[in-house]
Symmetry: C2
Subunit: 316 residues, 2 copies
């Protein structure tokens, strides 16, 4: 039995990444209903919005689902108590230390996974008592580690230092990449971009179409002087790049960024002025599909390639 | 039969990347004698030095070996004629268009592979008539693609658009990563950093020790306003970073770089002022080993993990 399937009581070891402005109850429940683990992305929700999404998700699926909580969320205490009060059973924490809330969540009977970008934090996770680790590589969309370590290098390294169930994230949008993640030592995968572009994603349709049209090199890791984030090229990106190339400092970049840029772009569809977060794998996403199709394509390619591996002659 | 083994007539589908200041006849012949494909890195050699290395390599191994030629080499015509005159049978070209020399080399009975960092050039390779493609991800050491596409994303994408034998490069230093590359669609792997730190590498011993001590995040892609290169952090790196953060332009960076910085660091062992090129995977290299040991560790881990894959229950 696969450890991730066992831990979360799901059919396929595929977690849908909690993403700002993309992953509400519709996406999370669709992924859970397809046999994966759907996550509501609390990062872009007011506390009362999160309550609504948790309740709707429960109505939309009888399968396990979870909530992703970025630990730098301003009203984090409020969020944590909502999660407990609403009876959420699975929480993925990110963008902070696993020491902060793991004990609190575990004491409330919640399964905890924490997202890391290096081995130092992976070891911290194990010491903090989390149940699973998500190790996310440089190719992932949105916020990203300062080490810039890619999934190919990160996963075998993390596998060397921890024994916990390990979920690979970053650059995974196909059955081939999922199988590669298993070869690297992961027990499951977390997929973001491919789900951001689905019918059930709450992203603006114009942003979804832009993901579908994205080409190689259309995302780069930017804003390294603030907090590194992988952005899709648009007018706002060009401004950031121009200022960074000119040597802009923290405050100048902070001022350019302003407030609400991801909402503006990803949710409201202002493709010029908005901040568009998506992974490198967007270059290989070519259509807006329903979640069931994305899931079945990934799972069937995974098994097809795996079968070829069982024939020693065809590989090596 | 594996297509890369068949094409080059080698036992293991492992190519040793041609690297400046690391891969002379000693390293190339050791890799070839261990069943892989050794490459002499012509990029850091004067024409007469290349002649010497080709002749010594022939004496040191009866197995196939090749020469890697960066196409921006100043005396490229001279180099190409040496390769033909000395009877080299395999050439890997990089850092330029495959249209330039593929026909010339093929007309002289030479097997040609070309290194790319995106699908556009992979398709160009196929049209130019090369025999195999090396697709190299962002995590690789030294010069690197502007798209910053990682191996995890690049390989399945290239596999979609070309049918030629495909060699994955970037972030591969273990049997796990090699198996992952096969899952992604590669027929073989090219390994640089792990061989740069071997006993047979011509790199300075102090540089080898620095590779062994490198930690996560100790390499970053720098000099993007010139030609992007992955460098190991040292005093020179810090100067580059400081100037880049301050908005230095092409000419200012060109002047800082000057001439002969890679030789100074990698060959002469000036770890402060030299330019040290190495891949992200250096974080997982912990000892200077002989080539035979590096090869056997990678090959045996590859087969061990592959055997586990054949047991469906243990994965998914």
């Amino acid at each position: 039995m696969n450890r991730i399937c066992e831990l979360f009581n799901i059919e396929h070891p595929i977690v849908q990444g909690g993403m700002v402005w993309c992953s509400g109850w519709k996406l999370a429940s669709a992924v859970s209903n397809s046999g994966g683990l759907g996550l509501i992305g609390a990062g872009s929700m007011h506390p009362e919005t999160l309550v609504e999404h948790i309740r709707k998700c429960k109505q939309a699926t009888s399968k396990p689902f979870g909530v992703n909580v970025p630990l730098m969320y301003p009203e984090i205490e409020k969020l944590m108590h909502i999660i407990v009060d609403e009876g959420v059973k699975i929480v993925f924490t990110s963008a902070g230390s696993p020491d902060k809330y793991t004990r609190f969540l575990k004491d409330n009977g919640i399964i905890v996974a924490h997202v890391v970008a290096n081995t130092k934090f992976a070891i911290k996770c194990e010491n903090a008592g989390v149940d699973a680790i998500v190790a996310e590589g440089f190719e992932a969309g949105g916020h990203n580690g300062r080490e810039e370590t890619t999934t190919m290098v990160l996963i075998p390294h993390v596998r060397q230092v921890v024994v916990l169930p390990l979920i690979a994230a970053g650059g995974i949008g196909s059955g081939r990449a999922m199988l590669a993640a298993f070869a690297l030592g992961a027990d499951g995968v977390q997929i973001g971009s491919a789900f951001a572009a689905t019918e059930e994603s709450s992203a603006h349709i114009d942003f979804k179409n832009m993901i579908v049209n994205a080409k190689e090199g259309d995302t780069l890791l930017m804003l390294k002087k603030l907090a590194p984030a992988r952005l899709l090229k648009n007018k706002f990106f060009d401004k950031v790049q121009e200022m960074e190339n000119g040597g802009a400092n923290f405050n100048e970049l902070r001022q350019l960024l302003g407030k609400g840029r991801t909402k503006l772009g990803m949710f409201e569809g202002d493709l010029n002025e908005g901040e568009l977060e998506i992974g490198q794998v967007s270059a290989t996403i070519n259509a807006i599909k329903p979640v069931t199709l994305v899931m079945s394509e990934i799972v069937s390619e995974f098994h097809e390639i795996k079968r070829k591996f069982n024939d020693a002659e065809s590989t090596f």
